[in-house]
Symmetry: C3
Subunit: 536 residues, 3 copies
């Protein structure tokens, strides 16, 4: 009991029926259930001989489940996890819409193509090495089994859900991290450079650093327990759905990329030209806004699904409500900040509101299980202001982040991780495949828990920020040294030439209306090198 | 039994295991189950003494469930409710696409921003007061507990699902109502005016009037039973998923707003100019059409999810099929109406077809549980014609409804509610957390049930229409008297000035292509105040 | 046991509790469970007399389930099937985006409208006759019961799920097939011609030919078993989720339509003009790319949902993972092919990458249950190259397929169906409502299974390809002979006139910006017949 209290984990690892049962035990269970049902004296007498003291060892362990019950619970949890995985994958549609919408027209095809490539790469890499590095047993720093999923068991650890269901859920997470990365690098990254760094992020950086926090023996996961990292701390690092693991890593890699790349050619920063400087306007705001809503929609897979359990009904209901409220107040916070201090002071800014909602979602991702609705409201509201300040900060540092990815995912991810140390409500402990275990609830500073959780969160997040930045910056810097076309940055004429990056890298443009001269009233086009406007 | 027959309800309130069990009973159940499993003679003898006649009182009550079974069923129902809630939230993406697509370019950013603001407002208000007004106990007119969700139980009433899961499902409904409201007010509402009326709708009008029909003690819900409103009627008001509560309220508020606002400047009505009058064309039909499909997709959360129970498998299957069929025939109906009598007579009109599908969906929302597939087909078909007629009607009355919200949600909602009185098939009663209870089936006029259900539906819907219109019109009228910028209607120069409402209220335009002169062939833009067309 | 081995089926038809239990048995079960719970001596003694040897017959049958367990499992499976059905329906949003995005502006409204009409038609037809032809009992060629769903049982066959839940899942499949069909016929089909052939496809071709493979007594489903078609083969035709039934049928009908129609006016093929020939560029690539992602998202309903069972948790997890991996490598394959040999050689082509992902998804649709992740990776990769080659092939044959539907759905569907004969891993047999039955695993050529499965797949697919092409070509040819406006092909002036097909058939254009002159900076429009550009 004491031990369990010390081991921070997203799901409890004790008394999980499916894994705990050997085949022999299952058979005995089944027989017992049957016995319990026929209840005839013959059966009772028969069983009395066949199964003497069979369950004595478990008699006082609280709950035991029949094989049927276990199968049913595993199926419910699998449905939950798979539906959540599908929703998380659906976020890709949201991401491409958001990123393409915020981009300039000339780099839109490139954004779309990168997102498709990253997804395809991620699937293959996460099958070959990523999942192995991240979720297999090994040491505190890296998993060392299950490459190409070979030798992996049928179900993942103590969750009771099929390993392949866990794989696709985690693939969708890895893909999210990978897509976030491309955000701040839009518009000047060469496509072959994108392939190289994507391999680095999806195949190595995300899964290996992720192992520290989410691996079965990750050193940050086990931190604070006897015999592990910082045993005196008494608290492990907690990240329920990935404010740090997915969003901070993605945001920090994106920052490293943007720094190594430098800004897009012709980009004028606000401090250099008060009148005309600043981020170019979104080329398609409806696309971006719909993308924001689809991301929110997909987040309902991201956070509630991270329980990997629907038997913890109270837990998943709470996560869903908290996720909603933080998104709402995040949107509010950024809207108010932009209203009071933004470039369109006195007006309600759409782009900031979208990013504010996302910042609220990023922030609640870590603490969603352990805070109350009020906590979610407050920490989401703060995230909205953070994303506003972040966009100004990076603009001031002359870092060109076309979609605000570093602020939304990086900064709000850091804040969300730390916020658990303040807002954990002291009521909730760990989720698990048969229900919640609240015997060791997590309490933050504002709820009488002292600074222990806060310290653990700071240490965990800081470790990951520093490690990610160091590795990612080095990787980006190396790719920046390669000869074209493998250099990280596209040739200048590829960026500024006719048709922009889209024409140079993909031989296409996002929108094509070859209709002019064909009779569409009002359409404008080019025909034989001349402007054509159809009037009839 | 008689009593249950008289109490109309979306879910039965009897024999719900989770709630019915006290802690002591649960413990006893657990022990009994465990006892059933060890089945050793010692245990049997022990239990024989400890639990004499423990369950005698329930022996003939029909079905009893073990604590494990209850937990499992609650988890299935929670998964169902949450997934449905996510789908309903996903409708927001559909709504912004539909409304923005149908709008003119110059008011597109405003549509997007209103939808975001409404959602953020709704989350906070529904947490603070909305859910309390609507779903807590109080009196027939208003709920008086659970403000800020304080003091609320873990599970909602007899549903067995976590209160926070119920909250997020109902939040998504409230958000839908709020978004509908903005439809007929597009293009001339000031943003601060929008904030004010949204607070009124989401915080007060929707939850308080909704309480009448869906609250645990709402007077329309209890109507027809002894000691309540109109006891002689013998039927309560039924609205399974909200044709009245969500759609009629949303549509009627929208109508009140459009009437108080007046039309957009420059809007010419069809009766005033046969040649050029009529609704301005949709600025982006692909956006609107995709939005229509996403709304249909999300409706599968709206209607089937309103069972709050997956244990009623037949019920949710039937609802899903009925929802599909009504949408299909609604689309057909409006398509045919427009083909025969529409502005593009002889052609197949896309905008009417989209709105027809939505009208079918709105109409089936109330009766989805109680009608047969044939009933769904017929009532959806009628809804398609109603939405066509409604658009003409409001155009004739010179009411400017840019997206047809009043016809789609208001009129089809009224029709759908009443249609139950005709089409209820006399087979289905009430849903519930452990399955359906068809002991008191609902029968409409066409199925031998007489006019009782029809009367109840007419009384319930009419009560809500009148009350909503009176309150909403008053509210809009008051906001219309406020000084700018809080006045409901934006200043004239904000509507007609450069960049339209989007520039005035949000300092942005929906589409920006600053690329001209940068090499995108065929792109047209403005550079240094001159027309630039890139030819190369 | 032997028989079951011989009957290929998507789900096992034995030992399904819900159907197997008579009312009397259920009552006995319920009583027994209750008995097992009260466990008091009185009850024990009572039961000893009332239920002597009640369950002896089932004692050694392996697994028996209580009525509660059966209800719960049916509910889980129903939730799974319904959520999957919703996702499959959501693919419609993806399809309209993909098809409209790939089309030219002037035919965009037509694409949207066809998709809406097809969906509405499909709902009504599948209710009236389609479901009856396809899924009711009859003979090997056609189902002959359940027209208008009359006389249909509450649950579908041995699945334990409500018939109406099965109906909506299968409706969504039929709708997919119908939408695929329109792909290669974009831009020159008359709308009334579309209505006619859609009735043929949705009401007759798809359900009747589909019956052969998926009907309870379809001759391809029963092929290889004693007394049925080709008994010596020893293997039936397997198509888990429809590479043949949905995609090959859709693709082949589309090909027949494109051949009968001929190309769009003005379409220059690559072989006729090396410089300017080839497919016109997509008018809106962001729309197409987002559509591709939404289709992938919806495919998670298509494939995993086809188990109709969540109790087979391993199965649905495996399907979801396989679906993901094939999509990833399909995208890769087409991307590489286009990089090496495509029209934009040396560049990364977005349109081919999107179609490659889809080809991977189409290919894995048949074998998703029976192959390993490695198999999925390989067969998806091949599909990517196939779609690339197919687009070239049909271009060379001067067949105008604006979105590549024939290659994506037709060719990749054929490949996917056959690939099972190579890649079936010899581990997995049949899914079922209570779990998997792997007692008769399916093994392909590469996994030591010989050529039996390969032969069965070839025979099944070829039969359906030939039959579909013959019927569809005849149907299209007949409609092509009808007088206008019912002729399959629109009048020439409808295609080339002002506003194109959209104006001619629907009186609308996809994008309308009547803002010019109203102050939107940079907007270009037509006012009083003159070009207007707003500069201020």
């Amino acid at each position: 009991m004491l031990l369990r209290k010390l081991i921070p984990s997203r799901y409890q690892r004790a008394s999980v029926p499916h894994v705990a049962l050997t085949k022999a035990e299952k058979w005995r269970f089944g027989l017992t259930v049957f016995g319990g049902k026929i209840l005839g004296l013959v059966a009772v007498l028969f069983l009395m001989k066949v199964l003497p003291n069979m369950l004595v060892g478990k008699a006082y362990a609280g709950d035991t489940f029949t094989a049927h019950e276990t199968n049913i619970m595993n199926s419910i949890n699998t449905v939950w996890t798979l539906v959540a995985a599908f929703l998380v994958f659906g976020m890709q549609a949201g991401f491409v819409m958001l990123e393409a919408g915020f981009a300039r027209t000339r780099e839109t095809v490139n954004v779309l193509m990168e997102c498709i490539l990253d997804t395809c790469l991620c699937g293959v890499l996460f099958w070959a090495i990523g999942y192995a590095f991240m979720f297999s047993h090994g040491n505190g720093f890296i998993g060392t089994h299950w490459f190409f999923l070979m030798g992996a068991p049928d179900t993942y650890e103590a969750t009771g859900i099929p390993l392949l269901a866990h794989w696709i859920f985690q693939f969708a997470f890895a893909d999210t991290c990978s897509t976030i990365t491309s955000g701040a690098m839009i518009g000047r990254t060469s496509f072959r450079g994108d392939i190289l760094y994507s391999i680095g992020v999806t195949g190595f950086i995300y899964p290996i650093i992720g192992h520290w926090a989410w691996g079965p023996d990750g050193f940050l996961a086990l931190m604070g327990s006897a015999g592990n990292f910082l045993p005196s701390l008494g608290q492990g690092f907690r990240d329920f759905a990935g404010s740090t693991v997915v969003h901070t890593i993605g945001g920090v890699v994106s920052l490293a990329g943007a720094m190594v790349l430098g800004p897009r050619i012709g980009r004028v920063f606000a401090r250099d030209d008060k009148k005309n400087g600043g981020l170019p306007p979104a080329h398609n705001l409806p696309l971006a806004a719909v993308g924001g809503f689809l991301l929110w929609f997909g987040w309902y897979g991201f956070n509630p699904g991270s329980s990997l359990s629907a038997m913890d009904a109270q837990g998943i209901g709470r996560i869903a409500a908290n996720t909603t409220l933080a998104a709402c107040t995040g949107g509010f916070g950024a809207m108010l900040a932009a209203l009071w201090w933004g470039p369109t002071k006195g007006k309600f800014d759409l782009a900031f509101s979208i990013n504010g909602m996302l910042a609220g979602l990023v922030a609640i991702t870590c603490p969603c299980y352990w805070v109350s609705p009020l906590g979610a409201i407050l920490l989401g509201f703060v995230a909205g202001f953070i994303v506003f300040a972040g966009v100004y900060l990076f603009e001031w540092f002359r870092i060109d982040d076309p979609v605000g990815a570093v602020s939304v995912h990086g900064l709000a991810g850091i804040w969300g991780t730390i916020s658990l140390g303040f807002f954990a409500s002291g009521q909730y402990g760990a989720t698990g495949p048969t229900g919640a275990d609240n015997s060791a609830p997590v309490a933050g500073l504002f709820y009488g828990g002292g600074t222990a959780v806060l310290k653990a969160q700071l240490i965990g997040n800081l470790t990951i920020v520093v490690a990610t930045f160091a590795v990612a910056y080095t990787m980006m810097w190396v790719i920046r040294l390669l000869p074209h076309p493998w250099n990280l940055r596209v040739e200048a004429h590829g960026e500024t030439g006719p048709g922009g990056l889209d024409a140079f890298e993909h031989g296409a443009s996002a929108y094509n209306d070859p209709e002019a001269g064909n009779g569409v009233p009002g359409s404008v086009g080019v025909k034989d090198g001349e402007l054509v406007l159809e009037l009839s």
